[in-house]
Structures are given as structure tokens and as C-alpha cells.
Symmetry: C2
Subunit: 124 residues, 2 copies
């Protein structure tokens, strides 16, 4: 994977946002560009474990930086994706096992958990 100027500017936009960004958010911060290249860049970043996608029903896909330990193969986050009911922003929040979804910083009203694993049927 080459570190081209285009890729570096996309990466910079994602990195410098404090909340998860949509394709449109990225485009607003890019100069003139080719949309196809952007989609391909995002796909590459996802495959390389550089960014992860955050999918919230009825809302655009958003992207955020991965943890340092993410790579081409391992891609585990296990953290909270908090969408603010006021500003609609989506943040990644670390999940210390002790405080499950709430901590002193934010306030959680409702949540759902997306898990990957093996279902009852497939365990047998």
C-alpha cells in the first residue's frame, strides 16, 4: 500500500476529527477530488485495519481510526459507539469493564450491542 498524497490527506481528515466521520464529512474537507478514489481509499483503509466503520441504522456509515493493535488481520475494538442525541455526533469511547456503558463523562440513555461469535445452533 503506497502512501500517496491523496491517501495522506484522507487519513489526516479522519485522524483530526474528534468524532466519527461520514464520506460527506471527508468530502467537505477535501479539495477537488474523485469520488471513486475516495471510496477505494476508504476500502483500503478498512482492509488494512487503519480505520473501522460504524454502522447505525437509519444513519450514514461513519469511520473512525482503529486502535494501534489493529492491522490487516486483527480488528477488534470492543468499545462504545456513543451517538449523542443532541449533536448527533458519534464517538468511540473506551469501555473499562467496571463501568459498563456509563461513565462520568457521558450519559447513556439506550444502547444495543453488536456481537460476533457463534450461535447456539452452530455450537452444536
Amino acid at each position: 500500500m503506497s502512501e500517496t498524497p491523496f491517501r495522506l490527506s484522507v487519513l489526516d481528515i479522519i485522524q483530526s476529527s474528534h468524532s466519527a466521520v461520514s464520506v460527506l464529512d471527508i468530502e467537505k474537507n477535501l479539495g477537488e477530488h474523485n469520488r471513486v478514489t475516495l471510496y477505494r481509499t476508504i476500502k483500503t483503509f478498512l482492509e488494512q485495519g487503519i480505520i473501522h466503520a460504524i454502522s447505525i441504522a437509519g444513519d450514514e456509515l461513519r469511520y473512525a481510526m482503529c486502535e494501534d493493535n489493529c492491522g490487516k488481520d486483527s480488528h477488534v475494538h470492543n468499545h462504545l459507539h456513543l451517538q449523542c442525541l443532541t449533536c448527533e455526533s458519534v464517538y468511540c469511547v473506551d469501555l473499562p469493564a467496571t463501568s459498563f456503558v456509563n461513565n462520568s463523562h457521558h450519559q447513556v440513555d439506550s444502547f444495543e450491542v453488536h456481537a460476533r461469535g457463534t450461535c447456539e445452533a452452530c455450537l452444536n
Copy 2:
């Protein structure tokens, strides 16, 4: 909202599936039908709190029945959406506070939490 034959058959398909269904899953079980009507039916069911959408990044949207306490206004689930790594099915699983993501039935390898609430910035 009228209980038309078309709506009843869509509802029956969703209800009788033990895992969450995609639009394509529904279509495969419907006879000849109009695609627009199906999309409008799904939208109506979502608005009425009859079904809820499950959005998993890189995967089609799926739908599953809501809890009895869901309605036009309240739409809270707070349960686990488990996607099986083997069969790819997505199940809704109740979350007794004690066992957080694991229980004796399924095995969770990784998860993420989608939460709605108020972020640090907006709380101040």
C-alpha cells in the same frame, strides 16, 4: 394503519423467522409482489414500533420483531445482536444484567455497543 393482506404476509415472514431477516429474505418468501410496497411496509412497521432494524457494517440491513412494549413512540431494546461467525445469522438475545455479553447458549468473540445518549460536550 390498515391490516392489509400484503402487510400481514410480510409480518408473518418476519415473525416466523428465528433470526433477523433482510429485504431479500422477505422477498424470497413473498410471492409476486411490488418492491416499492415492501419498502413502504417496512418503513411503516419501523415507525409503528412493530419491527426494529439491525445495522451491521458491511452487511445488509436486517429486521426483527420488536418487544411487546415497543410502540409508535417508545422503541427501546437494549439487547444483544449476535451475528454468528459460522452461519452469518443475526439473532436478538436478551441481556440479563448479570451475564453481560456471554451466556450459556452462545459464545461471543467480539462485540461493540451502539449507544444513544448525551456526549461530554453536550452535557456542559
